[in-house]
């Protein structure tokens, strides 16, 4: 859900830049406290993997729409919320600069939706559910729901920004919200399935480090 140039008015995208800058600045400050030598390449490959996975759109609603992995939950669960925010922001910046995916005016909003609120939703949902749901099924459910909620949170924020930009399109907020949450309810299911599978794969090969996947969240 990379918002292009032209969808948001300046009264919306300019404050969104400030919000993202604040949140990313804080994430950088926090990550400086915990980034060690071993983490550095893991951030690099996680960003690379998410970039690649974001290219693979899967169809939803029988050929009418498509979605792709966001990766906010994947990064937050594997590497913690501060690194996840920086990773998703970096992916978004590269997509915008080199591939024309998302507009430069909307970059702050896109970062706020996906790298800040998407990561925050995943972190909170995973942190809560992984404590109360037992066993490996409980863990899978926690990962799945963290991923689903991350997509819904990002879609909700995008809807709000589009709603605030009413002067651009004259469409009522209610229609935008209903449309965005509707289609992303389904895209979120794909996000959940892919995130569960990739977390399992990364855990199996030991990418999460000695403490196992979920280290990032529990450590904070």
């Amino acid at each position: 859900m990379h918002i292009p140039d032209g969808f948001l008015n300046a009264q919306t995208w300019a404050p969104a830049y400030l919000l993202s800058a604040g949140a990313i600045g804080y994430s950088i400050k926090k990550s400086r406290e915990e980034l060690n030598e071993r983490q550095v390449p893991r951030l690099g490959v996680m960003a690379a993997f998410i970039f690649a996975a974001q290219m693979v759109n899967f169809p939803v609603i029988a050929g009418v729409a498509s979605g792709h992995l966001l990766g906010a939950a994947l990064a937050a669960i594997m590497l913690g919320p501060w690194s996840a925010c920086i990773i998703i922001s970096t992916v978004l910046a590269i997509q915008m600069l080199f591939f024309g995916d998302g507009g430069i005016t909307a970059l702050g909003a896109n970062m706020f939706n996906m790298a800040v609120m998407g990561v925050l939703a995943a972190y909170l949902v995973y942190g809560l559910l992984s404590r109360i749901l037992p066993g490996s099924m409980g863990r899978n459910a926690s990962v799945f729901l963290a991923a689903w909620f991350s997509v819904m949170a990002a879609a909700l924020m995008a809807s709000l920004e589009l709603g605030l930009s009413h002067s651009v399109h004259q469409v009522s907020f209610g229609f935008i919200l209903k449309g965005m949450l509707g289609v992303h309810t389904l895209i979120g299911l794909g996000e959940g399935l892919i995130t569960v599978a990739v977390v399992k794969f990364m855990e199996k090969i030991g990418f999460a480090g000695g403490k196992g996947a979920g280290e990032g969240v529990s450590r904070s």
Binding site: F7, G44, N57, Q95
Partner: protein, 95 residues
């Protein structure tokens, strides 16, 4: 093989082999913008030209190959950028 190499290899394989198979349906936001009749607000509004628009590497006639090349190039670029940034952040911890 170290786990970071395995994930990097997985990323390159996804970019090279799966990205050309991606669905070309509009994404969630494009679908909504089309249904609600404001998709045209984004057309021609792009502020900045990008070197590899729509994940299609320029100058390659075969569409699948152009996408795969764009995918692998982007994956490598993203790895390099994130690795470099993380290294900068880490160094400031120790000093």
């Amino acid at each position: 093989m170290k786990s970071v190499y395995k994930v990097l290899l997985a990323a390159v394989l996804v970019a090279a082999l799966l990205s050309p198979l991606a669905s070309s349906n509009p994404d969630g936001l494009e679908r909504v913008a089309t249904d609600l009749d404001f998709i045209e607000k984004g057309e021609g509004s792009q502020v900045m030209e990008s070197p590899v628009p729509d994940y299609t590497f320029p100058g390659i006639e075969n569409g699948a190959v152009a996408t795969a090349v764009a995918g692998v190039a982007g994956t490598a670029l993203t790895f390099a950028a994130m690795y470099g940034l993380a290294r900068l952040l880490k160094k400031r911890v120790g000093h």
